[in-house]
Every structure is written in structure tokens, then in C-alpha cells.
């Protein structure tokens, strides 16, 4: 079996589902003959025709809005936003309609939509092409938020997202679109949408991350292991609803935790994870949960972006900090 990249596994999943389900329609800017600016839809228009894989005019509010109407009529729209930086005009329709249609009509109509967008920094792109604003969507009731971090998970989670009866924000970490290759059987098997993945087992500290930052998180775990520190690495992947139980289970072993994400810190998803750990595992903790995140600044133009993104050394230091922490006497 050929080994494929993450972006190719997206294409594979789209092709599988376009083939399996006539209701699936893929659309967005340049998804047609051009195959998307990252080639995520490469060849799909040629294979499935312009009715099913369709270029839209340049209008993101429109892309989000028509998906609602299409879904209400029983289609399974898969809408691409070219970059997460251009998804913001879509928020109104996602939040006010896609996420609410089922509830508003008490189940009469629903929105089984997948909104896809490449996200994250680190590819030396122009401004607005490096955003990690997943937390905005995570806060919106009625949505699911999914971020894969490997070709196999991308395939299985995208299939699950398309088949899911409710709207899913599916963010693709473009920095690792082509970072690794894996064998990904095209068997149509979906992954569950509410289970975290344990990417590496360990006993001393729990590292939680998602998307491209897992690359540095796993590298940090590797580096720590050479010092005899055993880190467990968890990829929640389905960030909303969040499977906190897998995290808590891990804390039963490790009692210490670091959350890593590239989005700005303030109000990022790391905060919610820390809050839930506080709620469910307060007594388990032997040190405050540490957050290694993007700074609370705009992600800089590319010459400074490596200074912004959480790197291995920041993660390693954060782990050292939680390991060296010893609870004070104050309590």
C-alpha cells in the first residue's frame, strides 16, 4: 500500500465519501480544477464532476450560509475555507444557524455540514495565513471541533465528520500536511468523534497537544526520555466535545500536566483543559498545569514566527518546571 501524507489522506477521505454518498458535495474557492491551494481536493472535480466538486465565487459568508440551506435539504455539504484566516466572515452563519438549526426547529431540520480549513503557522506564509483560532469555535454550543494530527487520524476523523449528523469544524494543521507519510487503508472506516488518542505512553507527566504542535510535543517527549523522564502524550483531536476522561486517567498516573497549543494563551483551549482538570482531578495534581502556547499577540509575519510558535525547548522547560514543582505549605 502506498504511503500518503496528511493532505493526501484528506483527499482520500473526500473521494471515499463522495463515492459512497451522493449527498456529499464539496465546494469552496479553487477546490475545482485547481484542486485547492494545498491540493486537498486534487483530482476530485475531474472524478466526480462540477456539480459535486465546485468552485464558488469569492465569498466566505456565502460559503458558510449556503451550506446551511444545502444541509437543510438533506445534502452533506463539505465546505472548504482556503485558510483559517478567511473563515471569520463565516462565523455568523456557523454560530447563528449551522449550530442551531436542529435545536431551533426541534429536530425538524439539521445541519450535517463539515467546514474544513487549513490552519496554523510555520509555513512562511503571508499575513492571515497562519492563524490558530480554534478556541472561537470551541466555545460555540452545537458545534463539534476536530483537528487531526496524522494521515490515518485525518482520514478516519474526516469520514466521521462527514457522516456526523451535526456541524463539524474540521481544522487541518497545514504545517504537517506533508510532514510524514503513513499507510492509510482506504477502507472507509471512521474514527469515533469523542475519544482522545494516546500517542505515547508515559508515567511522569502528561503532555496534551493537538494539530501541528504535536510534532514539537512528541519531540520534547523524546528528548525528555533521554533524561529518563517518561512523558505521556495525548492528542484530544476531537476538541469539542472534549474527552477529558482520557486526560484524567493519565493524571492518575502522572499527577503533572503540560498543555501545548500554538494559539494565543488567553482564552485558548488550554484554559478549558486546565479548568476541567481543576474540576475533575484537583486532588491528583502535584503541580499546577502548565500552558505552553502562542503569545497573546498577533502571530507575526514569518521572519518572527518561529519566535512565536511553541518550540521543543519551551515545552521541555515547562515540563521541567512542573516536575520540579513542590507544593507549598500554604494550604
Amino acid at each position: 500500500m502506498a504511503q500518503i501524507t496528511l493532505v493526501e489522506s484528506i483527499t482520500q477521505a473526500l473521494a471515499y465519501e463522495l463515492n459512497a454518498d451522493q449527498r456529499v458535495v464539496v465546494f469552496g474557492e479553487d477546490v475545482g480544477i485547481n484542486g485547492g491551494v494545498f491540493r486537498a481536493t486534487d483530482g476530485l472535480q475531474q472524478q466526480f464532476g462540477v456539480d459535486r466538486v465546485r468552485d464558488t465565487p469569492l465569498a466566505e459568508t456565502m460559503i458558510a450560509g449556503i451550506a446551511v440551506g444545502m444541509a437543510a435539504q438533506g445534502l452533506r455539504p463539505v465546505a472548504e475555507f482556503q485558510f483559517m484566516g478567511f473563515i471569520y466572515p463565516a462565523i455568523d452563519h456557523v454560530l447563528s444557524h449551522a449550530a442551531r438549526y436542529r435545536n431551533r426547529t426541534r429536530g425538524r431540520l439539521s445541519c450535517p455540514i463539515v467546514y474544513r480549513a487549513p490552519y496554523g503557522g510555520g509555513i512562511h506564509a503571508p499575513e492571515h495565513h497562519s492563524e490558530s483560532m480554534e478556541a472561537l469555535f470551541a466555545h460555540i454550543p452545537g458545534l463539534r471541533l476536530v483537528i487531526p494530527s496524522s494521515p490515518a487520524r485525518a482520514y478516519g476523523l474526516l469520514l466521521a465528520a462527514i457522516r456526523n449528523p451535526d456541524p463539524v469544524i474540521f481544522l487541518e494543521p497545514k504545517r504537517i500536511y506533508r510532514a510524514v507519510r503513513q499507510e492509510v487503508p482506504d477502507d472507509g472506516d471512521a474514527l469515533p468523534l469523542d475519544r482522545a488518542f494516546i500517542l505515547r505512553e508515559g508515567n511522569d507527566v502528561t503532555l496534551i497537544s493537538w494539530g501541528a504542535s504535536l510534532k514539537e510535543t512528541l519531540a520534547a517527549a523524546e528528548q525528555l526520555s533521554t533524561e529518563g523522564i517518561s512523558a505521556e502524550v495525548i492528542d484530544p483531536a476531537t476538541l469539542k466535545p472534549l474527552d477529558i476522561h482520557t486526560v484524567i486517567d493519565s493524571l492518575e498516573k502522572t499527577h503533572r500536566c503540560v498543555v501545548v497549543h500554538e494559539a494565543p494563551r488567553f482564552g485558548g483551549l488550554g484554559a478549558e483543559i486546565v479548568a476541567q482538570i481543576n474540576e475533575y482531578a484537583f486532588d491528583l495534581l502535584q503541580a499546577p498545569v502548565n500552558r505552553v502556547t502562542g503569545y497573546d499577540t498577533v502571530i507575526p509575519y514569518y521572519r518572527l514566527e518561529d519566535d512565536y510558535l511553541p518550540g521543543v525547548s519551551r515545552i521541555v522547560s515547562a515540563v521541567r518546571e512542573v516536575l520540579e514543582y513542590s507544593t507549598g505549605e500554604v494550604k
Binding site: T61, M62, I66, V68, G69, H93, N103, G107, D166
Partner: protein, 363 residues
């Protein structure tokens, strides 16, 4: 200064349709569908809409209903549009829609439930594929474009008639990007879509003249390369004719139409509004002279197809219909609190179970 020579590329006309003038006299021969029976039905439905509006406002005033947007004065648009669709077409409404919803078969108690703060009102027993009322201005027009795409997509043979989507919005809605993006896409993709603008001259306190420098709203169709026309929105015959024709074009794969129906909001914006703050009394009075129900009645009287006894009989019947529904509405008990979770997702995610139970415990 010397004027440069330019080459003409394109010319566009915008025209307006009317059958009945404000005194109820015909300005041209009526279309075939305007039989006495049809006109009487129009009259009945507009009268019912007016009664519902009136009652809803009273319910609000007495604390039995939330904020309500009356359609007073715009009944010809609601009834004219709502009744033009085939049952199987899909209506994608704005929020000021009582007449249209009645035409679509939505129950009066359902309409009241929506404004009475109960989502169950949007779970129509009939018109199950129609979209719910849309509060965020103009957003429904994009949904309608999506519906129109789906109807076309699911339709096998484009040479045969299609189901169509009809959407509506106010004059204010035509300032919002969603409106333009929707009509542009509809033109581009030749979608079976009809967009009706209820130009009632106001967006809350902002007059039509302050929304846009355009002479007509119909001309905005030109920006999408689609057909655009104006109708006298107080003349239900004109409204019905224009919408029917536009639906027929859409049905036959001839693409979308924008229709501006010119009317007047004879009421406050909603029950939460006080139009006397910004509206001149004379303007309002003049607008009353053009209102659609009296106009149709004047014609029906002059044509000898209506009289006092019929009027009395009708009012009695409608009052009964209304009363029944209001009772159903008033006697509907509040939903269980956990309903707010029951339809959020198709299946309650595990992660929400705790909250669900907490809410249950709270009851």
C-alpha cells in the same frame, strides 16, 4: 472640459407592475388567475393575517406574548408570496411573515409559540421543509441559495420543472452583504431562486431613503446579472403575478429573479418599538390610503363579488379560527428545561451528560 468618447457595453431597464391602483381600480386587464374565487381567497387570507397580527399585539401588551413583528399593511406581500409557491417548493422566510406562513400551512398557534418564546413553534406540522424564521437580517437569503442549489442538484433532468426556493427580506436587508452574495451566487449558478424584498419603507427607524442611494431596490439585481423588477406591494394581484412568473422561470431552469414589493409598515417595527419617535403622522396617514386590504375590497365591491353579509360572515369565521388557535397557544405548557439539550445534537455527547443531569436536578 472635453468629454471622452465611450463605447456602450450594456443597458438595463427597471420597471414596475400594478393591476389595482390605490382606489381599487384596475390599471390594466387582470391576469387570468384573478377569478372572483381567487380574489375572495386573497381577501380572506389577508384579513386573517391582519387579525392574527392585531391579536398578537394585544397578547404582547397583556404580557402573554414576547416581542412581535406585525405585518400590518404588508399583508398583500405575505399572502401574495406565500401562496405563490407549490406545496413542494421551499420557503425561506424573514421574520415578518405572518401572512406568508399562514399560506404555507403553518398554524397560528405555531406562529404564536415562536414569538411566545418556544422553539417548538418552529417545528411546523406542515411545510416541514420550509426554513425557520430568520432573525439575523438577510442571512436566510444565503440559506435559500443553498436550498435552491440542493433542489437543482437533486433534480434529475433540468429540462423538466424543478422545485424552487423563495426567500424574503426587508428593504434594510438589501444593505447587507449576505443579500448581495446570495443573488450573485444565484445568478452565477443559475439557481431556482426567487428573492422578494418587502420594501416597507423602514428598517426600524431608518427610512428606505437612508439605506441606499438607489432609486429602486429592484435595480440591485443588475449587480448579480439577474432579472429585477418592482411591484406594487399593496396590490396582491401584482404581487402574486410577479412571484408566480418568477417561480415559473426558476422552475424551468431560467434562473433567479429579484422582486421589490413596495409597501408600507403601518405599525411599529415590533411591539418593542415606538414609531412615533421617527415617523411623520402625515406620511403614515397617506400610507393608509394605499393599504392592500381596503384596496382589494374596493375592487371586489365594485366588481360585485363582495358585500356586507359576506364580510360579516367572514369576520365571524376568522374570529373563530383565531380564537381556537389562541387557546391552543395559551394552554400549551412550557417545555421541560432539558429540551435545551435534547435537540442540540442528534445524540447528546457524553461530555454534556453531567450538565444535562445537573439541569434535570435543578428542575
Amino acid at each position: 472640459m472635453h468629454k471622452p468618447r465611450m463605447q456602450l457595453l450594456a443597458s438595463f431597464d427597471i420597471a414596475s407592475l400594478q393591476y389595482l391602483d390605490q382606489r381599487g381600480q384596475t390599471t390594466q386587464a387582470l391576469p387570468d388567475f384573478a377569478t372572483p374565487d381567487t380574489l375572495i381567497t386573497f381577501y380572506r387570507q389577508m384579513s386573517l393575517a391582519r387579525l392574527v397580527d392585531d391579536r398578537a399585539v394585544k397578547l404582547q401588551r397583556t404580557g402573554q406574548l414576547g416581542t412581535y413583528p406585525s405585518t400590518l399593511g404588508q399583508e398583500a406581500i405575505g399572502v401574495g408570496v406565500g401562496g405563490a409557491l407549490a406545496k413542494t417548493d421551499v420557503y425561506c422566510p424573514n421574520y415578518r411573515e405572518t401572512g406568508a406562513l399562514l399560506e404555507r400551512g403553518v398554524a397560528i398557534e405555531e406562529i404564536l409559540a415562536i414569538w411566545g418564546g418556544d422553539e417548538r413553534g418552529q417545528n411546523y406540522r406542515h411545510a416541514r421543509e420550509d426554513l425557520p424564521l430568520s432573525v439575523p437580517i438577510a442571512t436566510q437569503m444565503l440559506h435559500a441559495a443553498g436550498v435552491a442549489f440542493a433542489l437543482k442538484y437533486k433534480h434529475e433532468n433540468l429540462d423538466e420543472p424543478m422545485r424552487v426556493a423563495v426567500t424574503s427580506g426587508g428593504d434594510g436587508a438589501t444593505s447587507k452583504g449576505d443579500f448581495y452574495e446570495a443573488i450573485n451566487l444565484a445568478g452565477d449558478w443559475k439557481l431556482p431562486l426567487v428573492v422578494v424584498i418587502n420594501n416597507n419603507q423602514w428598517a426600524i427607524s431608518v427610512p428606505r431613503s437612508a439605506q441606499t442611494a438607489c432609486k429602486t431596490i429592484a435595480q440591485k439585481a443588475i449587480s448579480a446579472g439577474i432579472r429585477g423588477l418592482q411591484v406594487d406591494g399593496n396590490d396582491i394581484i401584482a404581487v402574486r403575478e410577479a412571484v408566480t412568473e418568477a417561480i415559473s422561470e426558476a422552475r424551468n431552469n431560467k434562473g433567479p429573479t429579484l422582486i421589490e414589493a413596495v409597501s408600507y409598515r403601518l405599525c411599529d417595527h415590533t411591539t418593542a418599538d415606538d414609531a412615533s419617535r421617527y415617523q411623520s403622522k402625515e406620511e403614515l396617514q397617506q400610507a393608509w390610503e394605499r393599504e392592500p386590504i381596503a384596496r382589494l375590497k374596493a375592487y371586489m365591491l365594485s366588481a360585485g363579488i363582495w358585500g356586507d353579509s359576506q364580510e360579516e360572515e367572514l369576520q365571524r369565521e376568522l374570529a373563530e379560527v383565531l380564537e381556537k388557535s389562541v387557546n391552543v397557544y395559551l394552554n400549551t405548557v412550557k417545555d421541560v428545561p432539558t429540551a435545551m439539550f435534547d435537540h442540540l445534537y442528534q445524540q447528546l455527547p457524553e461530555a454534556l451528560l453531567e450538565q444535562y443531569q445537573a439541569l434535570q436536578g435543578d428542575d
